[in-house]
């Protein structure tokens, strides 16, 4: 038996049992509070995830016991800080199955990772008339860096369109790949629609033409197993704060041979081997791309987040969130006057919706009064909004701590929106 949205109840129940979200949510102290007199229902994990106690403890512990600069002193604290900072890098390497930990570059977040590649790789290799292919569902952070380069060098941006469900038109992508294509930079999972793009297929198509592939994995890495070698990407960027880690830290992973050939992005301390006033010799990876004192506490917190996720298991998290998303899509989809935006067959835990009765902002305010946190607006993806001829959506996005109770609370509050706006 299947339901209206084509799901099998047994498979749904099985998915919802993949992890014990009711138990896991107790790891997140922030969730245990009331907002406007109602228990907090946090459905904004695509904007930022909440942090488990182990991540908070790792940061507190670092500042309480081990704070020192890394790779500099010979004293004990500096050695401890360096060890923990590098252990976190190795944890990230393992988490994404990268070949070498020196390929894991700490950055501020996905945005900086994308800017690093556009700026360093792009300035070195792109010529006027060259093309960069992105998709129509990119976050602004995977549009603007290439546009800036475009103005500077004369590089053209080509955009792969998508259908009404939010699925890329792969044949169009294939026909865009040409002699002038120098980079394919695509979002793995759309923040506005939830679509999971077929990046492995896209990478193999691009590689067949010798074109490197960059992935914006900000929205995918917290929700599914990511194996950078299996995906066949050349660069992958993601943010700590969207994967239950701290803000201000993220990762750019790149293939060592590409990173080695690229010029530094920023310059200063740490990234050098020797400096005279005549000449500077750059350091090896990853230090070459980590100028200045890094976010040491952030990296250590990220390492703790990675270990937390590994202990639960990404495959189980993916199964659970997929089942929860299906449950939510079915419940929201059955409310008259609610339309889901983004209905791809392969999609992650994002429920973007609009309502006949009310604008997204008004929905957001009424949901907040019920203690429910969702994002409203264009989600830094204005071209996606333009594609659907809307200006904003309300977006409920899931994390491993959400349960069917949260979806039920959302549905109840949406009924309230309809009551108010009639």
């Amino acid at each position: 038996m299947t339901t209206a949205t084509g799901q099998n109840p047994a498979a749904l129940a099985d998915g919802l049992n993949a992890i014990d979200a009711h138990r896991l949510r107790r790891d997140f102290p922030i969730l245990n509070q009331e907002i406007n007199g109602q228990p907090l229902v946090y459905l904004d994990s695509a904007a930022t995830t909440q942090k488990p106690q182990v991540v908070i403890d790792a940061i507190v512990d670092y500042y309480t016991r081990n704070n020192a600069n890394v790779h500099r002193g010979v004293h004990t604290l500096s050695q401890r800080a360096t060890d923990d900072y590098e252990r976190a890098r190795e944890a990230v390497r393992r988490f994404i199955n990268a070949p070498e930990s020196c390929e894991v570059i700490y950055v501020r977040g996905t945005t900086e990772g994308l800017n690093l590649v556009a700026s360093s790789y792009g300035r070195k290799y792109f010529k006027p008339g060259d093309e960069v292919i992105v998709t129509g569902m990119e976050h602004h952070s995977n549009i603007v860096p290439w546009q800036i380069l475009g103005k500077e060098i004369g590089v053209k941006l080509r955009v792969v369109p998508f259908n009404d469900d939010g699925e890329l038109l792969l044949d169009q992508f294939e026909s865009m790949l040409g002699d002038r294509t120098r980079m394919v930079s695509v979002v793995h999972q759309s923040n506005a629609l939830g679509t999971v793009n077929p990046v492995k297929t896209m990478a193999s198509l691009a590689h067949a033409r010798g074109v490197p592939v960059m992935l914006d994995a900000a929205q995918s890495i917290p929700h599914m197993p990511i194996d950078v070698q299996d995906l066949g990407a050349d660069f992958v960027a993601f943010s700590g704060h969207k994967m239950y880690g701290p803000t201000g830290i993220g990762v750019l992973w790149g293939r060592a041979e590409l990173l080695d050939a690229m010029p530094p992005y920023q310059s200063g301390g740490e990234m050098i081997r020797s400096v005279t006033f005549e000449e500077t010799i750059y350091n090896d990876l990853p230090a070459k791309f980590e100028a200045g004192t890094p976010d040491i506490a952030g990296a250590i917190g990220l390492g703790a987040a990675v270990e937390y996720l590994e202990a639960i298991g990404m495959a189980r998290i993916a199964r659970y969130e997929h089942a929860l998303m299906r449950y939510g899509a079915e419940r929201l989809g059955s409310i008259a006057g609610v339309r889901l935006v983004g209905t791809a067959a392969n999609k992650g835990g994002v429920l973007s919706f609009i309502m006949d009765a009310a604008h997204a902002h008004d929905i957001g305010t009424i949901l907040d009064a019920a203690g429910i946190a969702v994002r409203t607006g264009h989600h830094c993806a204005q071209p996606v909004m333009a594609r659907y001829e809307i200006s904003a959506t309300a977006r409920a996005s899931l994390g491993l701590y959400n349960t069917t109770d949260d979806i039920d609370a959302l549905v109840k509050a949406i009924d309230r929106v309809i009551e108010v706006f009639g």
Binding site: N36, G37, A358, H359, A360, H361, D362, T365, I366, A369, T376, G377, H378, Q382, M385, S391, A392, R416, E419, V420, F421, G422
Partner: protein, 151 residues
């Protein structure tokens, strides 16, 4: 509805949202401006017909899309400023702004008239920009700036 929410979404405000007044273009407009809230994508277009002899606003209309607060605010604005002079508008704008941002302000309720129904917005700091967009747009139109944003 909690008391807070009903302060914000008063029935008469919702009625302005459903059936905004002067939601149209203005024949023979002398001034116009577009207003944007880049954070949420709200957009309004305001047209005015200012009497060359008296300097008073003879007609005003708006179009565009946005949330209930921004739409009702624009609707109320068009009702309120018809017949007003540039000086009247400046005084009204100041008083309206005070109503939305100064919790303990002594307000001139006679001056504000129907605009008072937006007073509940003060409890929702994230929504003040929604309420004020139309007024920034009006100011841009009168100043000849062409566009206004809330940022």
């Amino acid at each position: 509805m909690t008391s807070d929410l009903s302060d914000l979404y008063q029935e008469i405000l919702l009625e302005h949202n459903r059936r905004p007044r002067n939601f149209r273009t203005v024949d023979g407009a002398t001034h116009q401006a577009d207003g944007f809230n880049p954070l949420c994508g709200d957009q309004i277009s305001l047209q005015l017909k200012v009497n060359g002899a008296t300097g008073h606003i003879d007609d005003v209309g708006f179009q565009g899309h946005g949330c209930a607060i921004s739409r009702a605010s624009a609707s109320l604005l068009t009702q309120t400023i018809k017949g007003a002079s540039g000086t009247d508008v400046a005084t009204l704008f100041d008083e309206f702004h005070r109503m939305l941002t100064e919790p303990d302000a002594e307000l001139d309720l006679d001056l504000l008239g129907d605009l008072e129904m937006l007073s509940g917005v003060i409890a929702y700091p994230t929504r003040i920009k929604c309420a004020i967009l139309a007024w920034h747009t009006l100011k841009a139109a009168l100043d000849g700036d062409g566009t206004a944003t809330t940022e």
